[in-house]
Point group: C2
Chain length 431, copies 2
Amino acid sequence: MIRIRKYTELNKTDHDRLFNRFGADFSSIMIDTVAPIVQDVKNNGDSAVKKYTSRFDGVDLSSITATPDEIEKGFQNTPGELLSAFSAAAKNIEEFHSRQKREDIQYDRNGITLGVKYEPIERAAVYVPGGKASYPSSVMMGVIPAKIAGTEDITVITPPGKNGMVPDIICAVCKMLGVTRVLKSGGAQGIAAAGLGTETVPKSDIIVGPGNIYVTAAKTYLFSQGLIQIDSLAGPSEVLIISDGSADPKWIAWDLLSQAEHEEMATAVLLTTDIREAEAVKAEIMKDIESGSGRHEIKKKALTRSDIIVMPDVESAIEFSNRYAPEHMEFAVTNPMAYLNRIRNVGSLFLGDHSPVSVGDYYSGTNHILPTGGAARFSSGTSVDTFIRRTTFQLLNREALSEARGPVNIMSGAEGFDDKHGGSINVRFED
Amino acid sequence: MIRIRKYTELNKTDHDRLFNRFGADFSSIMIDTVAPIVQDVKNNGDSAVKKYTSRFDGVDLSSITATPDEIEKGFQNTPGELLSAFSAAAKNIEEFHSRQKREDIQYDRNGITLGVKYEPIERAAVYVPGGKASYPSSVMMGVIPAKIAGTEDITVITPPGKNGMVPDIICAVCKMLGVTRVLKSGGAQGIAAAGLGTETVPKSDIIVGPGNIYVTAAKTYLFSQGLIQIDSLAGPSEVLIISDGSADPKWIAWDLLSQAEHEEMATAVLLTTDIREAEAVKAEIMKDIESGSGRHEIKKKALTRSDIIVMPDVESAIEFSNRYAPEHMEFAVTNPMAYLNRIRNVGSLFLGDHSPVSVGDYYSGTNHILPTGGAARFSSGTSVDTFIRRTTFQLLNREALSEARGPVNIMSGAEGFDDKHGGSINVRFED
């Protein structure tokens, strides 16, 4: 069960567990499991995808993509209340992501025009986990930024249900967002199909979205071959909450439990400046677990790896969080905006005591495909930028090239390119 | 030697060679060579780095970083003319990259404040190839964008010279740019030291810059373990030139030769709408090769894999290039700006007949660390963005949370999180 510790009492083992918590090694899965599947899909296309879907999902597909009729029927089967909720959420997500668009850059300097063109990646695939449950919210979080970026060719990849069909609600959200291609094959075979292309699905240039270890290993394997772009490596979900004791302990407890409810490997950490709050939050958590409500066993297991840590002050808690680099951070203190510029390395940040993580998981507009395991030190959540690439450009006139001539000859000469690097400028000034 | 072909005569083998030209598989190098080195550096830090530097570079280091005195002496030993050239180039590169900075986003919607904070990645490392020659220009291209992004901790990684010292000119450019930490160990051991941290060098969050196959495999290996961010996988350098016959054939020939001069594996492709130009360019190339000038053998080998392709028109040449996704593209036609919005998937674009690639390699201001092998379909050159990460944030008041309550309960219920995801909102409205 979740423990209460003082920050000053944490030892080296605790520090390692908290601050160096990724370190997944996909090498053996990549080589032993993923590489043969990728090779098979490369050689045999759709038929290999069908073979692995039959083997791993127990489903025999006639086509590896959903028919227009299947998508339409799934939409029709979805309750109106659910459609309305997703539609309202999609509107917020569209609004938030639309603000991230960039203007191209262009300027002149002494006879040279320079700039940056921001272009959409042409073909994107969004992985949506399936199996025991389906995750229509992840369709929104992958597809909406891609569409706003201008990506025209979008594939949703998701495992089929036991009946060989794409779950209704996934169909519904795809239809709502204008996605017409749903590859109904999960795992490494689904990633391989989208990353390499087959008879039925085109090669995607980028694959985003969370998945299990085979999905992540397959994405990483194709990335390591220079074939696709990917988002960051998906690990277990996590929240770090900073509290100064001003919020209701039960609210904080419920937010920790909300994270624990995700999966056994989820992590929830509370940093509080108030020892009484620490005890009150723990008591609320114990009460919930003892009540056996909801995903009781999952929450219990997740909480064994979770911590309540008593910090000397809010400043030291922020320093802890900056180093921890959480996927989600809740900053439940009075006047949270005053600290905004000091908080770093967070996937998505929830400010104040009325911003639980679940509101960002579904509704507020921010993205929920986020870096985990400390990867927020160097990577970011899915955004419009994820689907944008840059082309830089330059146009010189004769005078600008003349100005560059001397320096380029000197620098390229120093690097051993003393013939044609300088020469390709010099030749333009020969008679 | 370089061949002239008509576009319509290209067969499937040509298409594969041109359009699916990456496909490097680093798996065996990662597992057999890189993984043991990484493990050794993880366990033994500096002493492992020294061991491999002794083994692979034949140099016994007393320290794995350059001393301040070593950097100062390198600077002092560098001719003033060279310092001036690099200083002028650095000014242009700083100007170009400064324009890429982004403003944070913040806005309100019915009781919710949302936004995006753009933050620098805290610790970055820049790999600078060494060995036979040194590449001070790559120091600029990696370090300047990082500094403009706001990254404060920067490590330059470069192999030592045979005398165990960092080459003078590398020291000089480091000093010019305010870099004080130079890790003098290349290959997988240098990447491992920067990616993991040792007694002497801190762990970097991101490693950029080109290198040989061991460097690229080591970067990819650490990325695949979720430990660092990297730029795109470095492959052989390449140029694609589109010409409408308006430029002097000798200029075009020199630009192709400038690329060929880089390395035996470099690729140069000319797409021209003018068969006479094709022949004239080929004749100039032959003349140069026969003259035995410069890096004669390297150019000759590179040209065996290069093509001059005669295209029906400029439009079809642009389509070819968009599919090819070249690292460098020269667009040597009259009125090039008119086509700018139709050109996609280029690392760096050189417009008109007075913009040879070498001006961007060193001087114009654009970056020269660029995606190769077709990776420009989904990745971009090094820029300020490379060193920036995003934190999204949201702050809800009670009314905004109340509005979210219904939809979040409905959506989270549909995904099987029907207890605490909705519950963490509901609890805030209990009496």
